[in-house]
Symmetry: C2
Subunit: 320 residues, 2 copies
């Protein structure tokens, strides 16, 4: 939870005159969101989320993210819709920060994942991938396989703080991933960070997907591999094959996977575990003294990596 | 800003079945509120604030606070109205914490105080005092003059960290206050913490008063003295007599002050400065290592105390 940048009522009221959203009636900082500062803003016309983009977001990427959300919601996907200013532009500035306002989505993100959440998510993810095919902008995945070695190197030997052989183990795994990583699978827009706190539900149905600030152009089924890691493990570390079976089946009802995509799933799942393990490891080793956000434990993803390493057939994911 | 206690969607949905408020559609932790954890909760019937009471609130006092808010809103004052459960009771429990839900109020608290804010606040405060006359519960002000000496003693000589003679200076002031403190002025319900972040405005008019968790039975005009300190000083430390003149005049339009009340205002203003100086000093000297909330600078109230010490006539407050 974090509000990095504070705003005043006067500044916000003046900011809102750039839009046709009526007058400010209330606002509060939201204690969620790790990267940016978010405010819930109510006006005489509706409820909005105002995001001030903090240092970790590349300003040059913001038009990609905002245009993507506009495109996806125009395609019928339930995601935040950027509000355009009177000048037709969504990206503004507030208190020296890039800022944008999006529509508020109803729904709650699930703290305890039920199998039906995974089923509904599978379908929503496939719809997102299909809606993305007509989006024309592109963005390289800055956290794909090519970035992992520099990330591991910058963690370096202090990785031993987690456990003594971690650096060597990841070094070996990474060499294997670099050799095995597929290069000929269907690519397109992926969300790339579809964790439970980025997916809203009403009852067990997806009511909205938020936080597109890692979205990029990459292997579509890699998004599914990320979700196997983010949604299908229980808190005791065990993999719940019922959840993955429901997720992948619902996905394939909308976008069937080719044999090549299915065959690549285990390596993509290992790669996805490596990606989150490395960024968490980096954040763990480099936490600032005055951090508002406690870094997540990298060991969770080490365990997930170990699970995928011992997978020998797709039945382990409920896919045979 | 602080969310001390986390809740899950499942727990919250189950909690809400105790009320007739429909089904949960969204919730977010609010990054405001120093003492308690607050969530903005939306259901199919409306928007509410859910408060989980943390350690600093006396559970035995909660019926007083909740009944007071119910009484004041029934009297036409715009303040949060506690939502009663199906059993007619407002005070519940969630995640092992006492919890209550109140109606959401539109409005924003002003970061830059304008004279008109002070004018509107004066009237709202007088209305609150009048509405309080028909409320039958009582609560001693645990932070009135009698509590200041133990508070100063518990700060002790480390008060030197602020400046070398602070302890002695406050000791002398406190002896004076103890002798001068009035005992025969009209008493009743006061808010006792009516700082700008507890008063919502739409344009320049008060739209609601929140956070009654310091409310108590005490000298009515002491509330006004608190507000002179909280609203009428500029950020450079100077006292803005235009603001105090507007505030006290608007107050008196609804509840005229007697000569005795007016005469006591300077000592009450010194006392109010002492009260916030001492609690801030205590929090400053006793901040926990892992504090989520940065303590406020006690020196701000030392400067305010010095201002009131040199007041010789009521004209200094715009009251002649």
């Amino acid at each position: 939870m974090a509000v990095y940048t504070h705003i005043t009522d006067d500044d916000l009221a003046a900011f809102l005159t750039q839009y046709e959203v009526g007058e400010l009636t209330s606002f509060s900082g939201i204690a969620e969101g790790v990267e940016n500062t978010n405010f819930l803003v109510r006006t005489t016309t509706g409820t909005y989320i105002l995001t001030l983009y903090e240092k970790r977001v590349e300003v040059a990427d913001l038009p990609f993210f905002l245009n993507l959300m506009t495109h996806l919601s125009a395609s019928g996907l339930s995601c935040p819709t950027p509000v355009l200013g009177r000048d037709g532009i969504a990206l503004k500035e507030l208190n020296g920060r890039p800022a944008a306002m999006v529509t508020f989505l109803e729904g709650v993100w699930p703290r305890r994942i039920q199998p039906d959440h995974c089923r509904s998510l599978g379908g929503a993810m496939a719809s997102l991938h299909q809606a993305g095919t007509t989006f024309e902008m592109r963005r390289v995945n800055a956290l794909s396989v090519a970035s992992w070695r520099p990330l591991l190197t910058s963690c370096g030997l202090p990785a031993r703080k987690i456990y003594h052989n971690l650096y060597n183990e990841l070094n070996i795994e990474l060499s294997w991933l670099e050799r095995q990583w597929p290069t000929d699978l269907p690519a397109g827009i992926i969300h790339a960070d579809m964790f439970p706190d980025n997916v809203f539900f009403l009852r067990e149905e997806v009511s909205g997907i938020i936080d597109f600030y890692f979205a990029c152009t990459d292997i579509l089924v890699y998004d599914l591999a990320i979700c196997l890691n983010a949604w299908c493990f229980e808190s005791d570390g065990s993999f719940n094959v019922t959840k993955s079976k429901l997720m992948t089946a619902a996905y394939q009802q909308i976008r069937p996977l080719s044999e090549q995509e299915l065959a690549a799933l285990p390596v993509l799942a290992r790669g996805s575990a490596m990606r989150f393990l490395l960024t968490r490891l980096y954040d763990w080793l480099n936490q600032p003294e005055d951090a508002l956000v406690k870094p997540k434990d990298p060991r969770e993803y080490l365990k997930k990596l170990h699970f995928h390493q011992q997978v020998t057939r797709l039945g382990a994911y409920g896919l045979e």
